[in-house]
Symmetry: C2
Subunit: 316 residues, 2 copies
């Protein structure tokens, strides 16, 4: 049996056919055209899905279901995207619209939860009963796996780990609240912190790396400067990892997950990020007295997480 996963983002609609092992055997993407009407965007989803099924020489009888992951809030039961800020979707009955042209079950899920599903079923958290998956990007996406199932609370909106406050009255977050973890530990926050440090320290390597153009600073810049031994770069990275550690230590004290998997661009720093992170967490987590401690690792599914996680929604 095969599963279709669709990663419906603000930039691209990426669809893939996924086998039972979690491997994408064929994929295709088209621009979302995010300002278009929902009918046009959903129409494109159908076209891409039908295309890859045909190109792979399959029939819909060989497909288990279509899963769609996108940011925002979903009514899973009725297959409706209630709210998607990127696409300006409000109460769009995506399942019904797709089933008008493809007669397959259609599942919807939040994109951060899809990343968690992918890591749980086929990635870094495979085989773990309790896992937390964090995706560091524009925001901090969180996914909670309990008893190998996705946890979303009584109304389906749980798991907004990035919107737990770590500093009351702190930095303004995109959600309107002040001091959210996301406002300190997202890639967006790291870029802001890097810019501020570069402005204060014009002699640092940071400005050199971006040829004096602050707008070229990305989430890698401070890490690159730090690796060159630049004092300001080292400070920015250390400060960033401190905030990340505080938020993750909260997750440990609350959930004691067997594994925390960190995905998104920043996670590509690998052990350069994880080693000091584990060190900083050691003194602020409650795992002592000889208790077994959960592992902290990078996510494995990379860019495939969106498609694989969406495809595997019915598995969790």
């Amino acid at each position: 049996m095969y599963y279709i996963g669709v990663d419906l983002g603000g930039t691209n609609i990426a669809a893939g056919i996924v086998n039972e092992e979690g491997t994408i055997i064929r994929k295709k993407s088209v621009p979302t055209g995010r300002t278009r009407k929902s009918e046009e965007i959903v129409g494109d989803i159908c076209r891409v899905v039908l295309d890859i099924i045909e190109e792979e020489g399959l029939t819909t009888e060989e497909i288990h279901s279509i899963g769609i992951g996108s940011p925002g809030i979903h009514d899973r039961e009725n297959g409706v995207i209630i709210y998607n800020n990127n696409l300006n979707f409000r109460n769009v009955p995506v399942r019904k619209m797709i089933q008008e042209s493809i007669s397959l079950p259609v599942y919807l899920e939040n994109d951060a939860n899809c990343a968690a599903i992918a890591e749980s079923v086929a990635g870094a958290a495979k085989g773990e009963d309790y896992a937390i998956i964090i995706t560091i990007g524009t925001g901090i996406g969180g996914g909670i796996i309990i008893d190998r199932k996705l946890y979303t609370g009584f109304n389906g909106a749980g798991g907004e780990l990035g919107h737990a406050v770590i500093k009351v009255n702190g930095e303004l977050c995109s959600c309107g609240r002040k001091g959210c973890w996301e406002a300190y530990s997202s890639a967006t926050a790291l870029i802001r912190q890097t810019k501020e440090a570069a402005e204060k320290n014009p002699d640092s390597k940071i400005l050199e790396l971006v040829e004096g153009d602050l707008s070229k600073i990305n989430a890698k810049t401070a890490f690159d400067a730090a690796k060159m031994g630049d004092k300001t770069g080292i400070e920015v990275v250390d400060n960033y990892i401190t905030y990340l550690a505080e938020g993750l230590a909260n997750m440990v004290n609350i959930f004691q997950p067997g594994i925390i998997a960190i995905g998104g661009g920043v996670s590509k720093e690998g052990e350069y990020l994880l080693k000091p992170l584990r060190e900083k967490m050691k003194s602020i987590t409650y795992s002592s007295y000889g208790l077994e401690e959960g592992r902290i690792v990078t996510a494995k599914m990379g860019n495939d997480a969106g498609i694989v996680g969406a495809a595997f929604i019915p598995k969790v």
Copy 2:
């Protein structure tokens, strides 16, 4: 069938016989004598348990099990209290010690988790699949109910909700970390905040209520002053509820529980506490877009929570 619950605290050993409905039909308590040896303390537990069984005219055949709730960290599988700061217990094999004189199954659990069990099985959260129970006392005790079962993570130490940081580098917490929710929203924290405000505002009603003796300030003092219209009292209460709201909003954004039940002394303020609390939480939680919202209520089990929760450990 009846269940024995033992609330093993730093001050008293309170044991009770609980029926299937969660009612304590007989109870008895003796001083813990917390500096005594573990053998003596466990010996007293056995004596009190045997006493109440006999006084009620029951036999051990009519008792399902003995559950013991105490602060600290437990090895549930092997029935060992790994660490209990109040009693100076380190790796005490309580189950084995009790079973030397009473041949019944013995269960151990953290006291905050026992409070959560009591509310879930017989109290304010009865019938709810997803619940968070907070006990405001010396610290902030937390208990997580998922699918009507107690959630404790992969190593059994999860649910330390009071030790999630809400203010990085903030007030020093008893756990050694800085800025924990407990350091702002426990009764201990409220007393500290009340004292500080009374010192800064010697003309407030607070000092009057305690006859000028700061050491007489308790967790009720600021609320009493506020109810008399005292400006300083109102400020202390408002500030305290803000911190409580921030921590609870975190729990909502993470868990979206169907219910949050708040117990402990401060919860006796009832709607005087809950009304502004709900109001403050409204703007900082993620429950919008027409999603159903969880309820916030006071816990129901009061002082019985420890015994009933311990008795019902095997039920969750």
